[in-house]
Amino acid sequence: MPATPTPAYTLDTVTDLIQPHQVHRDVYTDPEVYRLEMKHLFANTWVFVGHDSQTPNKGDYYTTQVGDQPVIQVRHTNGEICVLYNRCPHKGTKIAIDREGNTGKFFRCPYHAWSFKTDGCLLAIPLKKGYEGTGLDQTENGKGMKAVGAVRNYRGFIFARLADEGISFEDFFGDSLSSLDNMVDRSPAGRLEVAGPPLRYMHNCNWKMLVENQTDTCHPMVAHESSAGTAVKIFEDMDWPEDKPKPMAMEIIAPFMSPYEFFENMGIRTWPNGHGHTGVHHSIHSDYSAIPGYFEQMVEAYGEEKAKQILGENRHNTVYFPNIMIKGPIQQLRNFIPLGPDKTLVESYIYRLVDAPDQLLARTAMYNRLINAPTSMVGHDDLEMYERAQEGLAADGMEWVNIQRLYEEGEDFDHEAVENGTTERQMRNQFHAWVKFMQPQPATEQAEAAE
């Protein structure tokens, strides 16, 4: 038995909680581990902020969090997206409290009317003579709202690294960007637009349980038997004519009952730095009915070969470490926003494929509400599992959580690999990256400032 680590954790000791085939339950429950994650892991990695279509016009802003840090995504006067800490440099008041809006050419703090350009630079302070000779201009506070360390707009998706220095966007994501590319390429115009507000679903569990579940292919046929299994049964009783297209809802929900073999054969791919996806060869999204006119539009835009290649890729869930998942084939993104060691807000966004038929978006909207809403029959059982796990982990009789399925000694996470679709390798990959990014990473600056 490995020795049991004891709190309170520091950056040096926290990595004792991770072993190749198991992780200590404190990674899900301990407040100090959570604090270290927020301070280091979420600062050293590239974390999803929002989509640029949420802030299409100059002065448009949207408020969210990077880890536990309140931030504003704003379209600056020069058309670029800036990500600023949502805090007045004066007293700390949140500059924007609504979820979205337009601030015009500048932000104005509602408390003392300090104002800032939309890139954060201080614009004006009322009765400024009161600061003459006080040295305010020498302080960080006197410069304005603070921007995050680095921002990257990748094909409309905004990511931020809080740390001023660290791994570059390209080095962090590497070839995993192929999943985002595929999602965007599915628009004949090569562009996505956010479609309405996200579902917001509160989970009383640690954020990592949600991320792990995205590539957990041994749970759907068990946890979701009550919804997907019952759906299949009701449908069989309906005597649906074979030549009539299945209802869209059945196409979406029935594949959750696919047998183990289906998930084994779909494959899992892992990339360095904790990214990975299920559905290398096929997925629960592979057999959706064709939407009339769409393929023709894609051929027109890309040529037949490329169009077939784009639409032939049916990745199931792609995890971008640390805390989002995307579904390329249906243009969905789920953001697992940590609110505490045992509290996570899940925001599930959907996007419209620009220039594609509306039916595709209708199917995506249906998927989002059937599977990921707080009112979803599928989501209910997922949340039940997470919350039971969060409570069960209190049991002192056993302190380690097992992630050993299809484990092989000496696994190398620094190279891309494709394996059996039921492996827990992607979970191990995430924890490998978790250890790495708890520590500051050397700068590998590339073309981060671009775009």
Binding site: R99, A195, G196, P197, P198, L199, R200, Y201, M202, H203, N204, A223, E225, S226, S227, G229, T230, A231, I234, F235, M238, P247, A249, M250, L345, S348, I350, R352, D358, L361, A362, A365, M366, N368, R369, L370, A373, P374, T375, M377, G379, H380, D381, L383, E384, M385
Partner: protein, 160 residues
């Protein structure tokens, strides 16, 4: 006096709420027209049910699935089962068009759902489109607006 009267419509809304509270779901499903949709928007004053996300937008197949799932042996999130309670304000009858066989009511309710030690309250407005078939009032469509539809929720497992 011809059927339905204003009181018949109002009684129907009360009866439906009671069915849901008492878990008489099979009876409740029988209230619906075959093409009826239960819609719970996600956005305040949402107008589009199809191209943005809703909390619920379910036809009779999905509602039947929902009801059967609640009674399933392996419905883990319903072990133990949730219970619910509607307190309803007297419905407004907004449309009373017997020529078109179309009636619309608007009802404010407080909906309470509970399971284990947790209980939550939702303030809702239900809009019922009703019609009469063979002397019985039926639900053609039902829209349920949550006052805080844009808030983050845990599981809402029954039918507000």
């Amino acid at each position: 006096m011809s059927f339905p009267s204003r009181d018949d419509l109002i009684d129907f809304i009360y009866d439906e709420a009671r069915m849901l509270d008492e878990g008489r779901y099979d009876e409740w499903l029988d209230l619906w027209m075959p093409e009826g949709v239960y819609w719970m928007p996600l956005d305040y004053r949402q107008t589009d049910p199809d191209l943005v996300t809703s909390l619920l937008h379910e036809d009779q197949f999905m509602l039947r699935l929902r009801v059967e799932r609640l009674n399933g042996a392996r419905t883990f999130s319903q072990k133990p089962k949730s219970r619910c309670h509607h307190v309803i304000q007297r419905p407004f009858v907004d449309v009373m068009d017997s020529d078109a066989n179309r009636y619309v009511t608007n009802t404010n309710m407080h909906y309470v759902e509970t399971r284990l030690d947790d209980q939550f309250l939702l303030a809702i407005t239900a809009t019922h489109e009703l019609t009469v078939v063979e002397g019985k009032i039926r639900i053609a469509n039902k829209r349920v607006d949550l006052l805080n539809s844009d808030a983050a929720f845990g599981n809402i497992q029954l039918l507000p």
